[in-house]
Amino acid sequence: MIGNFPYFAVILLIGCGIYILMFQKNLIKLAIGINLIENGINLFLITLGYRKGAIAPIYTQAPSGQAMVLPTPQALTLTSIVIGVATSALILSMAMMIYKHYGTIEVNEVRRLRG
């Protein structure tokens, strides 16, 4: 019934993010787009690690005799979440500094460097 539906959720989130990055014209919106791609890829990794009818990979007071989901993607996702918040923080502080110097956060006007 569920089929490959989670993967489609992943690519829809990535698609939303890339759409924002390609067509929307506000610096903070761009940060939101990157955040969405990030979330999509996190979901992708966790989905890869899921195993039907398995439990979380923690031995403390676990029900016995059941398979566990794959733990590696969870470790990778933890890394990628922290990297994601770091990226957002840096991008947003740069957007604030751009506003300080330029007085705008519209993409059309933030282009003194060209040619």
Binding site: F5, L13, L36, M96
Partner: protein, 79 residues
């Protein structure tokens, strides 16, 4: 039983996608940020259902809490 869990998965994912689309189409920044934060929150729920409690805690605290806070600071700083 099994199909019930799958139904919950599908529902959460559909709401997540819907929130993601809202984050795209909202022109105002604050609603867009809140929609993006809702995506994070729902994903954290989905992570829990996928048996990844470690990631769920991290996503709830960082993705939904802190990221939204810094986005709101940034929106205040660019007004």
């Amino acid at each position: 039983m099994n199909s019930f869990v799958e139904l919950i998965h599908i529902t959460i994912l559909i709401i997540t996608i819907f929130a993601g689309l809202l984050a795209v189409i909202f022109k105002k920044l604050l609603p867009a940020v809140i929609a993006a934060s809702a995506v994070s929150l729902l994903l954290s729920l989905e992570f829990y259902l996928l048996h990844a409690p470690d990631v769920a805690i991290a996503e709830a605290a960082i993705g939904a809490g802190l990221t939204m806070a810094i986005f709101i600071f940034a929106i205040r700083g660019t007004k």
